[in-house]
């Protein structure tokens, strides 16, 4: 089981570092598929919802977004590799000192790494993939930590999936419009005065 968590971490690192968006899409589908299979092992209803949103709807949405925007990132990703190594080492050191189990630690690392990645990513399209990683890690974390009645309640699962997926759809839509307007996907354009 431990190897699966390490694979998830590797996939999330590749999602941040790879410059070809179709490859990034393939990594994120693989990531979502693993999460969905793991969830199916815990609970059928939520697992299948995760499969539907993560492995069907999300790739379709991203395919559309990539087609509408640039296909290849222009910026160098060398500096991000350094950020990745340092952030994962720091998280590993911090979480080991708290003394939690390996699988929980790996989930924390993936989630925290996603948040750090959001601050370092140089492309708005990349944000969407990283948000997806963070979202699915959270859901896996929910299965890993507790099994409340809510996870077997279909309307509840649909509500929670929708509550996390709909803002991602909106963000994708806005990303496409940002690209149309500024012809660039550099996040720093956001913070400059109009």
């Amino acid at each position: 089981m431990n190897i699966v968590y390490i694979l998830l971490l590797l996939l999330s690192v590749m999602i941040l570092l790879d410059r070809k968006f179709y490859r990034v899409l393939a990594y994120s589908v693989a990531f979502n598929l693993i999460v969905a299979v793991m969830s199916l092992g815990v609970e059928m209803v939520s697992g299948s919802m995760l499969f539907l949103f993560g492995c069907v709807l999300f790739p379709l949405l991203m395919w559309f977004a990539i087609e509408k925007c640039e296909k290849v990132e222009r910026e160098s990703m060398k500096e991000l590799a350094a950020v990745t190594v340092i952030s994962i080492s720091a998280l590993l050191f911090f979480l080991t000192s708290i003394g939690i189990s390996f699988d929980h630690m790996m989930l924390f690392i993936i989630f925290a790494f996603s948040l750090i990645s959001l601050l370092t990513a140089k492309n708005l399209l990349k944000f969407l993939f990283i948000f997806d990683v963070a979202e699915n890690t959270l859901i896996l974390m929910a299965y890993s930590f507790f099994s409340a009645n809510i996870l077997t309640n279909l309307p509840a699962v649909i509500f929670i999936e929708m509550a996390t997926f709909l803002p991602l759809v909106l963000l994708t839509y806005l990303t496409i419009h940002m690209f149309k307007k500024y012809r660039s996907l550099n996040p720093w354009h956001l913070w400059q005065s109009p």
């Binding site: 507790f146 996390t164 909106l170 839509y173 806005l174 307007k181």
Partner: protein, 442 residues
């Protein structure tokens, strides 16, 4: 009686969302028809909420599907204020004439539903779902105006990040308590403190407290006037209300006090240097949020009451200011005969923000300062007074700018009536507790 009250709550949440489908049948060009539908829809919600206030009694809790709600007279009052403010904003728009696409109309209705749901939501996951629904609809509404994409992206990105943190914290919190109910943790040590910290940072981002306020200025100044008015007043109120609801489990009150004071002080100073009305009012809004955060974190009865008075006042004050800004910037000035009406709105709104009698803002801030005095927190009193001083200076700068405006077109009576009514409500909130003597019983 309780079943009637439950039916009213469910109706208030579901009705705006369902009635939003009517807009599919209305063409974009038919602005008047759309505005009449909006006014009628918010009026029905207003009547339902007023009826609920009559039948609520001592309060009650109930579950629908898996969503948990808690209805108390105070929350009914907040919901009534939100619906009343929405009604006045929609009435303003009859004269102002802003009209968006079908999506705009539908998302506006979803926003109203999610705001009312957010007020009555009682457990963590229900609060999260309604907050996220607010984010989703508000994000699109900001985008709906030409050139709003950058502001919408900033808003959606930061609020989505905050949602992630909130969901992360809710999941971990539930792993300790075994459910989603808001209840204190048995013990708060290293990691549990981190969970609460995540929840708090997420919520502070949602309400736009300093230093998580980066989205506020652009979202309020670059969106359509009705959207800015509702977001700054009602949507901000729902986030603050969730902050209040989780206050018993936070155990981070000292930190929140500092955030509240820093927010009020920073925003009031920065507001002085803003060049447009809407940017200035956006910082007014942040400053007001700071005062409310401070009040809730002090936690004494007088402070909480002061916080709630400010909360209800801000539901009306912020739309008042943004509607005024919409009137002068988008209608290119005011005519002499109506000038005083609009000026009355600006003066009342700004006086309330700066805490000057006889407004609701004064009463709320008076109670907050009084509770800080009882807690011997003299530094906070001084800093809050400094913040109020800067807000007053900022208002005087706005006032100076108004006299230089060109007077080219005549505003519609609906816009002026809305502004007048909003201003009157702000004064009434300040006067009623004083006139009835209720305030002295605290």
């Amino acid at each position: 009686m309780a079943s009637l009250a439950i039916a009213l709550v469910v109706f208030s949440i579901v009705f705006p969302m369902v009635s939003g489908l009517i807009f599919i049948a209305v063409k974009r060009e038919h602005k008047k028809v759309k505005n009449i539908i909006y006014v009628g829809q918010t009026l029905i919600s207003l009547i339902a909420m007023a009826a609920l206030l009559l039948y609520v009694g001592e309060g009650f809790s109930f579950d629908v599907v898996f969503l948990a709600f808690n209805v108390t007279p105070l929350l009914c009052l907040v919901a009534l204020a939100i619906v009343a403010a929405n009604f006045l904003v929609m009435f303003f728009n009859v004269g102002h004439g802003y009209s968006g696409s079908i999506q705009y109309d539908i998302f506006m209705c979803i926003l109203l539903s999610s705001l009312i749901g957010g007020v009555f939501a009682s457990d963590l996951i229900t609060n999260y779902i309604f907050l996220d629904l607010t984010l989703f609809s508000a994000g699109y509404l900001i985008f709906s105006i030409k050139d709003g994409v950058r502001a919408a992206y900033k808003f959606t990105f930061m609020n989505f990040l905050a949602s992630m943190l909130i969901l992360f914290s809710i999941i971990l919190f539930s792993s300790y308590t075994g459910g989603f109910a808001i209840q204190p943790l048995a013990s708060v040590h290293g990691f549990e403190r981190l969970v609460l910290f995540g929840l708090m940072i997420g919520l502070l981002t949602k309400v736009g407290a300093v230093p998580f306020h980066l989205w506020v200025s652009s979202a309020y100044s670059e969106s359509a006037v009705p959207v800015a008015a509702i977001l700054a007043g009602a949507a901000n109120c729902v986030g603050l209300l969730m902050l209040y609801k989780i206050m018993p489990i936070m155990q981070l009150n000292d930190f929140l006090m500092v955030i509240g004071i820093v927010t009020a002080l920073y925003a009031s100073i920065v507001s002085v240097n803003q060049h447009t009305f809407r940017k200035r009012f956006a910082y007014f809004s942040i400053a007001e949020t700071g005062f409310i955060i401070y009040a809730f974190s002090v936690g004494s009865p007088a402070a909480v009451m002061g916080g709630f008075i400010l909360l209800i006042t801000q539901i009306f004050v912020k739309p008042l200011l943004f509607l005024f800004a919409g009137l002068v910037t988008e209608e290119h000035g005011l005519l002499k005969k109506v000038h005083n009406f609009a000026m009355f709105g600006l003066v009342t709104g700004s006086f309330s923000i700066a805490g000057i009698p006889i407004t609701g803002g004064f009463l709320g801030k008076y109670l907050i300062l009084y509770s800080a005095y009882l807690a011997k927190d003299y530094l906070s009193i001084v800093l809050m007074l400094i913040a109020s001083f800067f807000l007053l200076v900022s208002f005087l700068k706005s006032y100076g700018k108004v006299s230089a405006l060109k007077q080219e077109s005549e505003p519609h009576f609906a816009t002026l009536v809305s502004i007048f009514l909003l201003a009157a409500i702000v004064i009434l909130i300040g006067l009623i507790p004083l006139a009835t003597g209720w305030i002295w019983t605290l």
